[in-house]
Symmetry: C2
Subunit: 350 residues, 2 copies
Amino acid sequence: MKYWNSTLNNMTEYIPGEQPANVEEYMKLNSNENPFPPSKLVIEAIKNAADEKLRFYPDPLSGQLREAFAKANNLKVENIFAGNGSDEIFTLIFRGFIEHNGVAAFPYPSYSLYYTMAEAHGIQYERINLVKPFDVDFDNFLMKKYNLVIVANPNNPTGVGCNIEEIRKFLKKFKGLLVVDEAYVDFYGESAIDLTSEFDNVIVTRSFSKSYSLAGLRVGLAVAHKDIIQGLFRLKDSYNINRISEAGAIAAIKDSRSFMYNIGMLVNNKEYLESQLKLLGFDLIPSKANFVFVTHPAMRAKQIYEELKKKKILIRYFEGPIQSDYIRITVGTMMQIKTVIAEISAIVKA
Amino acid sequence: MKYWNSTLNNMTEYIPGEQPANVEEYMKLNSNENPFPPSKLVIEAIKNAADEKLRFYPDPLSGQLREAFAKANNLKVENIFAGNGSDEIFTLIFRGFIEHNGVAAFPYPSYSLYYTMAEAHGIQYERINLVKPFDVDFDNFLMKKYNLVIVANPNNPTGVGCNIEEIRKFLKKFKGLLVVDEAYVDFYGESAIDLTSEFDNVIVTRSFSKSYSLAGLRVGLAVAHKDIIQGLFRLKDSYNINRISEAGAIAAIKDSRSFMYNIGMLVNNKEYLESQLKLLGFDLIPSKANFVFVTHPAMRAKQIYEELKKKKILIRYFEGPIQSDYIRITVGTMMQIKTVIAEISAIVKA
């Protein structure tokens, strides 16, 4: 296309989960959004931040948000960076932490935005297949000299978690930069954050979109060695987090009670969803996230996706080797789970 | 620095205007923020958007915001893109609309973020001096084959506006991509938006930070040929505008009455500020923006800046050739203007 550079002309478009404008009409189990509303204290904090101070730019360092996260996690502010969703953090990493002739590596299947972003920045990358579906074999990331590796833990769309000891072993040998994307870690419990004080080549990213029910607010965080954090600040656009989002995220961190309650319910619902899918004959790998990734021996995944869409239930189906045999279903409320199970049951038994 | 790529290691840091956490203690006339609060309807729209739907991702296409702007400006939605501030739009342009071995050109003095962003993307650029302070001579941008030119209209920090006919003449000859940054256009009135239907190589950007008093919300727009808009969508992070900011920006566009009233007051205040500075012996070029860029024959600009800072009044002083002779003062409320004039008067007459 005219005026597009070669990078843009060569890249594939990222397809997010469908996000209908009339979102209320759908049962949306396709983007791993949290089925429970955000904390009341968050809503209140946002309303309070909607004041005349909006005429001022936000703090370019997001100081109060970083302080709140530091305090809650026993970290130093200098080791924390805040982004307009963790997506912005990945973008900055591609911009400033890998040379243009470097090579990145990501597991496959994984969050396809990594592939798209590497392409958007003209960075060459390789997809390393997961083994005996769906574990990360870190030795495969040492076969060549990769400059940047991003691993989601737990992984999306598979829901499988890595062992932190394996990540530590990998970091002892790896010479490039490792990003551990912990968007779903609150449902898992095993974080790599401690590794950021042991190694200067690991960045752990967090998101407020899933466990905090704040996908609509766009806030993500990175934890890493202070030299990396300083580089992220240098690279970012002048003011990346708006005043409202910062206020909401701070309130979310502080309201740990409602957060824990919400997580507890979700884990419980996930187990129920898994048990019901098992009864319907699905094969499943126990998920550590707020979604399940399942396949049925007698039914094409794409067909299940399409039949459910007709009923205004959105789940996620991905084209591509291996993953096109699976559907990914976000864990919903108990009522949503019962509805989707009833519909899937009708499809499978038809 | 270890793990930084060569681009990051070589870039200069962007220094935004000081943004103190205790913003209420200062008279802040350094970042061209609007001294009047945002419209009440905007505040109300934001409070209304702070609801349980925050658990959902925002519309990745920001459809309703683009529709509102299209309707208000008699444009097509397909010609509009929305960004997390116009800064994000510039970032995307550097990422996807100039080859890595291309050359960009920007006026000097101008918004220094252009230089920083070019560096952050490893793009070579040239600064083209403004002529007979401070006009853009477009012929100077045709002397070499530049691939990307960004011109702020009116320009920041000088406040001088370009003539749209001159931009049209330039576009007839120019083979690269021109970005017209209209962050301050609402105080000027002469927009290049109509040129986007005549030429496929011009992008006009807008901001909600200045005329709409919404610097804290981070919303910017781009208007261009649909092929360029499509490229911007392909390049951007998955969800760049959060739900709250989209709702606030839509309400701002719709409340044209309070917007026009606000602009009227500001233009009036600017003229008063200019007249008072003239009485104090400052040289000034009539400003088309919400700030003035002035120099005093008998007083060092840096000294005025420093003396005012001691009084908790922040104005902007820039290091660098030509511009270090000037101070930039944002137009405030009438009371702020009277205070700053009294303080400057004391400094100049001391």
